[in-house]
Amino acid sequence: MMSGAGSFLAGCSSSTTPESKSKNGEPVGPGGLPMARPDRRVKMPLWEDPIDSGLEPETGGTFTVFNYPAYLYKKLLKEFGEKYNVDVQYTAFDNISSGIQRLASGAVTPDVMEMTPDNLSRAVAGKLIKPLNLDYIPNLSKNVWPDLVSPFYDVGSRYTVPYTIYATGIFWRADKVKEDIASMSQPWDIFWQADAYKGKTALLSEERETIGMALLRKGHNDINTEDPKLIDAAVADLKELYDVCNIKVDDIQYQSVPEGNSWLHQAWSGDPIAAYIYYLPKGTPPTALAYWKADKGQVPVQNDCWSICATTKKPVLSHLWLNYLLDNGIAYSNFVDFNGYQPPINEIDPATLVKKGIVPENLQSAVLTNEDLGSDSLQYGTLTARGQQLWQDGYSDFLAAG
C-alpha cells in the first residue's frame, strides 16, 4: 500500500493549529503528510524538481556537513575535501530535533545533514531538504541493502539515502550481571529486577526508545501508539525503576559499559561494536560484554539517513557526498575505523565481520542484515502533533521523577 500526499500544500502554511487528521479522517504527520510505517509505504511529494543530470560538481569554498558529534570519521571528511577541492566543515547538533530547529531558524546553512525517517516528513513539509537526482548516486542501488534502496518512509529515495542501521536492545557487563538476560522469558524485565545494580543501570535518553521499551515489555508492539492510556501506563512502569535501581538516563553506553561505569544499559546495536573496537580497557576480555536484541517483529530497528539541505550552494557536490558515503570502502572504513555503527551495505555481513575479528563472536547478534527489515519489522515512525505531545509530556514526567 502506498499513501499519497494530497494535503501536502496545506501543511506548508504557517498555521499554528497542528493538523493531526487529513480530510478523510486518517491521522497525518507534519504538513498533512501521511505517516510512513513499515507496512505503509509513503512516497514523499516533490516541492521542487531535482537538479539536472550531468552537471559538474562545484569546487572551492566551504562544504558544511551537519551531523551528530563524533558520528563520522574525520579522515573521510578530509579525503572528500581534497578530492573535490573544498574545505569541509563539520557542524554538530545535539539531537536531530534541535538540528532541524537550527536549520529551520536559519542559524546554520549546511550543505548536507543527517536525517532520521521519523523527522523526514517535517523536513520535507518545511522545505528544508532538497529532492535527490539518483543519477549522481549510483552506489545506492549498487551497494545498499534491497529494503533500503527504496525504503518504506521514502519510496523512490526522493530525499534520503541510508547511513547506518541499528536495533535497540540490552547491553550489559556479563562479568558483573549475574542473570542470563538472553534466556529470560522477557529480557526487558531485567531493568525491573536490577536492584542489585543500583546506580549502574541506565536507559537511553530518548523519549521514543524509553517509553517504547516499556510498551514492548508489556507486549504492546505498536511502538507508534498515540493511546494516552498505554503511554501513561508505560510511564508509570518506568517510574517504578526509581526505587528498583535508581535508574539513570544517558546516551554514552558505548563508553560507560566497557569502562564499567554502567553494568546494564538499554542500547543500540552499534554500541557494543563501538565499545569493543574503541573503549574496551586493556585486560578486559571481549566476553565481558554481552548484547541482546529481540526477534524480528519485536525489536525496534532504525536507520539514519543523509539528505541535502535546501540551503546548499553546492547541490551537485552534495549529491556526490551522499554517493561517497555509500561507497563500499568508505562505508566500511567509517564503520570499523571510527563509528562502530553499521552501514546497510551488502558487502558487510555478520560472518565476515566475525571472521575478520571486527566483531567478537559473542557480539555477533549486534550485526544486522537486510532480513531484519521488512513490512513486519518495528520502527519508530512519525507521530501526529498530538501524539508527539503525548510522548514528550510522558517522558518529561519520567525525567521529573516527581
Binding site: 497542528p18 507534519p30 530535533s97 534541535s98 539513570k248 525525567l399 516527581g402
Partner: protein
C-alpha cells in the same frame, strides 16, 4: 549642556549592553512563553505584542507546578538542592572570606588568586574532572577508604542527591566568597574596636557588628550563586544522570531541545524568573535599607 551629559554618558555602553544582551533576550523568552508553535517545523513563534499573548502555556505550567502535578516534585527538589547548597556554601565560604579579609595579611592577594583560579577552567571541564575523581576506583574513594572514613568505596556517581549538592557548592562557591570578602574587607575596624572597648566578647562583636555589616555581602553572594543554580541542568546531568536528582533546569533543557513544545520550556523559564525576581526584590530592599541605615552606625 556638554557637562550635563558627559558623566551620564559613561553609563551608555552599560545601558546598551543591558538592553541588547539582557532586556531583549529576556523579552524574547517571554514572547516565546506566551507564543505559539509552528505545527510543521515545531519552531517557537514568539508573540511580541502583549495584546496577542497566549497564556495557555503559562497556565499549563502553573497547573503542573501544583502539588500532584508533574513539575511539583522537581520544583521542590530544586528548591531543596539550591537551599542546602547555599547553606553549605555559606558555612564554607564565610570563614574563608573572613580569614582573607581579616587575617591573611600579605598572603591576601595570593589567596584571592587561588579562589579565582578554578574559574580559569571551564565549568564543564571542572565537573568532568570530578567524574573521574569520584569514580568507584577514583582518588576520592581511595583517600576515604585509606583514611578509614569509609569502610568501602561509595558510589558517588550512582545518582546521589548529596553528590549533586556538593557539585553545586564546588561549582559556584567562588562567586559567593568574592562579594563576601569585599563586604568584610570594607568594614571599618574602628567599629569592631568600639564594640570591644564597650566590653563585647569576640563572639558578641562578631554577632552584633561584623555579621550585620556583612549582610549585604552575604545576600549579594547568595543572589549571585542561587540565580544560576536554579537554572542549572548540566551539573545533575554530569555527576548523576538519574531522574531522581534532576532539577527544573533539566525540564527547561528538555522542552527547548527535544521536540515540539519549546513554549513549555519558555513558560517554565518565565515562572522561574518571576520566583527569582521576588528573591531579587528582597535583596534590593535589604541593600536599600542597609544604605539608609549606614549614617546611624
Amino acid at each position: 549642556m556638554y557637562r550635563r551629559w558627559l558623566w551620564p554618558g559613561f553609563a551608555l555602553p552599560g545601558i546598551l549592553w543591558l538592553i541588547l544582551l539582557f532586556v531583549v533576550p529576556a523579552y524574547a523568552v517571554v514572547a516565546v512563553g506566551f507564543g505559539t508553535v509552528d505545527p510543521v517545523l515545531l519552531q517557537p513563534v514568539p508573540l511580541w505584542n502583549p495584546a496577542d499573548w497566549n497564556t495557555g502555556w503559562l497556565v499549563e505550567v502553573l497547573h503542573r507546578l501544583q502539588p500532584g502535578g508533574t513539575f511539583f516534585g522537581v520544583a521542590v527538589r530544586t528548591i531543596v538542592y539550591v537551599g542546602v547548597a547555599l547553606v553549605l556554601s555559606l558555612l564554607v565560604g564565610y570563614p574563608v572570606a573572613y580569614y582573607i579579609a581579616r587575617h591573611a595579611g600579605r598572603t591576601k592577594n595570593l589567596l584571592l588568586v587561588l579562589i579565582i583560579l578554578p574559574l580559569w577552567i571551564s565549568y564543564l571541564m571542572r565537573m568532568l574532572a570530578w567524574v573521574n575523581l569520584l569514580a568507584i576506583d577514583g582518588y576520592v574513594n581511595r583517600f576515604l577508604t585509606y583514611t578509614h572514613v569509609l569502610s568501602e568505596p561509595r558510589d558517588w556517581l550512582g545518582g546521589q542527591s548529596s553528590t549533586v549538592i556538593l557539585a553545586l557548592v564546588y561549582g559556584y562557591i567562588p562567586y559567593l566568597i568574592l562579594p563576601l570578602y569585599a563586604a568584610l574587607d570594607r568594614i571599618d575596624r574602628s567599629h569592631l574596636e568600639a564594640a570591644r572597648d564597650l566590653g563585647a566578647s569576640p563572639w558578641a562583636t562578631f554577632r552584633t557588628v561584623t555579621l550585620p555589616l556583612s549582610k549585604a555581602g552575604i545576600l549579594g553572594g547568595a543572589v549571585l550563586i542561587t540565580l544560576p543554580m536554579f537554572g542549572d541542568y548540566y551539573t545533575p546531568n554530569i555527576v548523576s544522570g538519574a531522574p531522581t536528582t534532576s532539577m527544573l533546569g533539566n525540564q527547561i533543557d528538555f522542552y527547548f531541545h527535544y521536540g515540539g513544545q519549546p513554549t513549555i520550556g519558555a513558560a517554565i523559564t518565565v515562572v522561574l524568573a518571576i520566583f527569582l525576581t521576588v528573591l531579587m526584590a528582597y535583596y534590593m530592599w535589604t541593600i536599600h535599607r542597609a544604605a539608609r541605615d549606614v549614617p546611624a552606625v
